[in-house]
């Protein structure tokens, strides 16, 4: 296929440099670390200029001893460049908020719900953050490192309506 040159590191620097704190390569995949307020402008540019039309995944990593405590990790795929890219946003435990990508990608709605379930990260602007893998009444965020694996949950009252 023609025109499927991988995204050059220089192109990333040139186009996105101002929005990115740090960038490096990890096993052939570009990784960009950025601040939460730059997420939406950066994702918009990635989508519109580099054709990152497929939003693959979002998850978080918890580092309890570190400040800010959480990494929110995104993966995207560009068909034009046949390339995957990773974005990392650090968010503090006191205010674990990142803007939602639901306005850019439909798939973000569901995936952000899962991260909200598991880590308690707020996705500002995503109006549907109901539990998805967990249930109404679940206490805590199970993938946080301070959630013990053997913790038991309170009984949920029988629902009738």
């Amino acid at each position: 296929m023609t025109g499927r040159a991988p995204l050059s590191y220089e192109a990333i620097e040139r186009e996105l440099g101002g929005l990115v704190e740090r960038s490096w390569q990890s096993f052939g995949m570009p990784v960009l670390e950025l601040r939460a307020e730059n997420l939406l402008p950066l994702v918009t540019r990635l989508r519109d200029r580099f054709d990152f039309a497929l939003f693959l995944d979002v998850t978080a990593v918890d580092y309890p001893e570190r400040s800010p405590r959480f990494d929110v990790v995104y993966h995207f795929y560009s068909r034009r460049h046949n390339q995957r890219i990773r974005l990392k946003v650090r968010v503090p435990a006191e205010r674990p908020v990142v803007p939602t990508l639901a306005g850019h990608y439909g798939s973000a709605r569901y995936m952000e719900r899962e991260v909200h379930d598991m880590y308690g990260i707020e996705f500002a602007g995503n109006e549907d953050l109901r539990p998805i893998l967990l249930y109404e009444g679940f206490v805590g965020h199970p993938l946080r490192k301070d959630y013990p694996i053997e913790r038991e949950q309170p009984m949920v009252p029988y629902r009738t309506g």
Binding site: S26, F27, M29, A53, L54, F55, L56, D57, T59, V61, D62, V73, H75, Y77, R79, N82, R84, R86, Y105, G106, S107, R109, Y110, M111, E114, M118, D128, R130, P131, I132, L133, L134, Y135, E136, P142, L143, Y147, I149, R159, T160, G161
Partner: protein
Amino acid sequence: MDVSSPIPSHLDRTADAGNVVVNIGPSHPATHGTIQIVAELDGETVKRADVHCGYLHRGFEKEAEHHTYHKVIPYVDRLNYCSALNNGFAYAEAVEKLLGIEITRRCIVLRTLLCEYNRIADHMTCVAASIMEMGAMTAFLYLMTVRDYIFEHLNHLTGARLTYSYVRIGGLARDLPEGWLTRLEEILVFAEEYLERIHGLLDRNRIFIDRTRDVAVMTPEHALNWGFTGPTLRSTGLAIDLRKDAPYLAYPELDFEVPVGIKGDNYDRYYVRMCEIDESIAMVRQCVRLLSDGPVSVDDPRVTLPAKELVYTQIEALVHHFKLVSEGIVVPPGEIYVSHEAPNGELGFYLVSDGTSRPYKLHVRAPSFVHMGGMHTLLEGYQVADVVPTFGSMNMVGGECDR
């Protein structure tokens, strides 16, 4: 509106007063996989749908953080349990890349062969289940017959029909048993004969076409926006396939096509899967030809258990064995995202290691989960009777979706 439902759905509040809200699932004979669809109906038409999953959530990612790298393997098998080998190979590759291990030539070819072999079984399960729900009992039984031959055959190799625990970091649990490849060819010939019958029964079947053609249609842009991958994305005409775009294992050496659909409806999803089975059969045969003699596991003391006779006779081997089993393998710090083309779509493992013998973080990018996030867009505007064929064509697997 009073709907008895274990989840609060916004449809309970926002549904039009003249419409009816019905609840389908989570325990419903046609939702093979525990999933709940709350649908607002205007007559027979689905106006809006709210898809809710999570009923099979077992905390895979939390468990993975508390187990050594080898002990995660049985959990990985239980993601997409129709094609457990594909999950295992993707996970193993993530760990191997962090360790910097190059697997042996025989292992590369065998893993490729088994990926495609398991893909045949997975696609057959999907097609069989979705047509059975439309009443095609004969076609269902034909496909299940072949699928069961495949599972019995894999049982001969691995010791289990579905959850194999066959992959090892750095290789495979054991080499092929005597006569396995002969039986493989017999099953492939049998499968081809039966697939021909399926084509004869379904391809031009008036009832089947009426139920699937122009139902749940989508454009490529729509599919990308909702994160669809695999046969669901390719049914719209986009030839996005990791086996071509980012070839792993032995795929660069294989000659195969990426079948695509025309307009992304249920019929296309059926047909793309059937064509992929044909391609997979051809790929399995190519892999048999590529298969060379040699060890199936690397000889790397960091990951490979010493030979049993040495464990019983030499203290060094005994200590080595003991350390590998009780402490586990130590993976250098780093993070990696490895994705394979699983039968359902892009299956990604995002692994973060902190340099100990347990994953610091292991996240699965499960195609079924993302597909369920966008499925309501394919239900809305169609008939309530189309819910089941559309759901069937997405091949949601509960184990993978809910993790």
